[in-house]
Symmetry: C2
Subunit: 298 residues, 2 copies
């Protein structure tokens, strides 16, 4: 929540609480919920979902007013599954944010570091903290479903000898305390999230901290993979000095030699040079769709 949040009166706050319901994948306290907070503030009501597809379904069926999904991670790459859902559902990307993935050691209040004999978390999180476990051989690693779920478990079972690895939001939500911060081996672990809305939702998201916001646009297009077809497609941007910030190809299964390209660039779809670039790209591509135009994330 931006600093101004404290000035919201109770009535407005309730209104806001009633109107924002945000679907995300994972348990309450997942890293996706940190993204929800950065994007919509702390008062947004969350709808935790089991699968990414459930997140999109909740938004489609209007149970959620927004969805927040991870789209790429600095270590693990792009989440192709969510690009697939973006193509299958008719939503718009309205904002982006980058969340630093910090793995904290979290335990029930009163549990001291020297009491801890077992640490629960998702295996991916456990494997990103190997230095900590090598330095502390007295502690056993125990795989669990979910980072946030492991925090909830050590709390509900009131474990005196166990901790979990999870996010700061999970510690806060479940009333646990952070015993040690940032156990992760690699600090370059960031996940980029998109905020999605149905197209009929009013366009009003702004980056709270910036007045002179830079805008980004995300689109998908496909070409036949004849030599030079990507080069020709990119001429649509290069000839108009439109600056790409991401490009990624993905082979289309079952259609040999056809590719999808995911592209992000700096610019708004209502700028003339961007309109011209998109018109030119439409001529050159077999298929093209703008997935969203949104303020550059903080």
């Amino acid at each position: 929540m931006p600093a101004g949040g404290s000035r919201i009166t109770l009535k407005e706050s309730n209104l806001k609480k009633a109107t924002e319901r945000v679907a995300f994948q994972g348990e309450k306290g997942a890293f996706s919920q940190e993204a929800v907070r950065k994007l919509l503030g702390e008062r947004a009501e969350v709808i935790p979902c089991q699968r990414f597809e459930d997140v999109f379904l909740r938004l489609k069926e209007k149970e959620a007013t927004a969805a927040v999904v991870p789209i790429e991670n600095t270590l693990a790459g792009s989440v192709h599954e969510n690009y697939d859902h973006l193509l299958a559902y008719d939503f718009e990307i309205r904002a982006e944010t980058n969340v630093r993935i910090n793995h904290h050691l979290i335990a029930p209040p009163g549990v001291r570091f020297r009491d801890i004999r077992q640490v629960y978390s998702h295996p991916v999180a456990l494997n990103q903290c190997l230095r900590f476990f090598n330095e502390n051989p007295q502690i056993e690693r125990v795989p669990f479903y979910d980072t946030a779920g492991s925090v909830r478990m050590v709390m509900t079972e009131k474990r005196k000898d166990a901790a979990a690895i999870g996010s700061a939001v999970a510690a806060e939500i479940y009333g646990a305390h952070i015993v040690r911060r940032s156990l992760e081996d690699d600090r370059r672990n960031f996940t980029r999230f998109f905020l999605l809305r149905r197209p009929d939702y009013p366009k009003r998201e702004r980056c709270a901290s910036a007045r002179n916001v830079e805008w980004k646009t995300t689109l998908v297009f496909s070409t036949r993979n004849t030599p030079g077809s990507l080069f020709r497609a990119l001429s649509a941007f290069a000839l108009r000095d439109v600056n790409l910030t991401k490009i990624e190809s993905r082979p289309l299964r079952g259609r040999p030699w056809e590719y999808l390209f995911y592209v992000d660039f700096m610019g708004r779809v209502d700028e003339e040079r961007v309109r011209n670039a998109l018109g030119h790209l439409r001529e050159l591509a077999d298929f093209m769709r703008v997935l969203g135009c949104y303020p550059k994330g903080c």
Copy 2:
């Protein structure tokens, strides 16, 4: 192993066994071991490693003659960590292969489907089989470290009421049986693996089944992100009809507006048009390195 494997005499087989030691990440029976078999046959001795970095270290320290690492998955995207290691270590990609990720239900011999009350596996595998669990609510999902490790556990503990989800190789290695095949929700789940060698290792890998092998080359380059810089870099390929099969950008952390690009193209580095393209790209890029030139994978 190609069909000709059975003609290898005992002495040759022992020699081969003695000379090929292949490092991979995961337990014995991991999907990486399926890739090892496709690339080097069943007789290669395997060196299971905890982390990807350990795999590269085993090859560097000559404990392994080869390393096999996943580089991208059709659902989960590129494994950036392994691209980072490819840049940090001086190895060559000598072959590639694509492994279909099939999640089988695996139990000790004699265990019938109706006996099964718990299914162990890595949470990522469990989450890729949600339809099966929804249709079988009597079965509890239990997270475990590793797909292959869960197969080993149900076997060593001789569980009568439990199964694991893992690969066919894991079932075979641990003497378990496959109770049900292919539980995965999405059949489009493939992982591409690279076979890596130290540069001094003789170049002799060939795709066993193909005589007229097509060749691919993988390289990494960086440019300053001025508008059109990628377009200019790609002109090196387009002007010589060199056909790209993959392109992916990755922002360089700590160096704003600089990007790494991963590119694959069809062609051998000793073809004249490819030599010319690489020479031209060297002029245009800040940095460029060929990671390998290898037969297109089967």
